[in-house]
Subunit: 89 residues, 4 copies
């Protein structure tokens, strides 16, 4: 369950990223230079990574913290590491 | 200048990614589980990486190949490595 | 403070990675094919990422859990997210 | 076949990375703080990425350029993109 501040922050960023993705489509349609296109894709990818970190921070502050306080952290930590594994590979 | 086959392929993928980004916004609005959100962001990021590779392949086959054939590859190779550097860091 | 099981596991992996790095040096000295060299570097990099995840898991199970249980998690979570940020960018 | 300048540059860097990997093992043996260990692993990983880029640049300047000039670039470009794919995923 995402915290309210995380919600607003992530949604703002995702809306901007959606715009970036549309911008990249326009660059391709207009036959823009490949390198400029790739650099824009890289920027959108890094912006997505930031959203992941923001959601992950919220997750640590809520779900993971709750699980640890109720002494049932094992599953939550395994799940988080598994998610990080997918994220980085 | 992007090749026609690269254009179609990239645009199809970007349209799908745009849909994924909208889907992630809906997940956040609906208060879905953080880990599921992060996994979806990871999937969209990997799909973006694939578009980069497709555009990069087209770039190698056209601009970089032309530059190498006319004996003026230095600038193009430096630019490509610089772009890869931004891409991976 | 690293847990004993994390210590043994990480040290085993790092010793293997050290061997991989020496192997890559030998490949370069022997003039091996660039693509084979890059693929070996990629393998060593992924092995390093795994060590990061193992240490990070241990960190969540000990330091972060302790901080959360004593109600002082803010600093630890900020630090972890900051570390992840460096890790992925 | 790696160019002489690429050889020297890569070997210098790999020797330094080998030292970093040994340093990380010592940090773990001495029970140093997890976050400091992870940050050192991140630094070594980024140093490895730089070696990949250096070898890749050499590869573009020699093998890929030769293949393009002799009109047989398809295989080399496919192979390079395949290597990049492994590198980034």
């Amino acid at each position: 369950m995402v915290k309210e501040s995380v919600k607003t922050n992530s949604l703002d960023r995702l809306k901007k990223i959606e715009g970036q993705i549309r911008g990249i489509q326009k660059m391709i349609e207009n036959g823009r230079y490949c390198i400029d296109i790739i650099n824009q894709i890289t920027a959108a990818g890094k912006a997505l990574d930031m959203v992941s970190l923001i959601v992950m921070k919220g997750h640590l502050e809520t779900c993971v913290s709750d699980a640890i306080q109720s002494g049932e952290s094992k599953e939550k930590i395994d799940e988080l590491i598994d998610t990080l594994y997918k994220f980085i590979k």
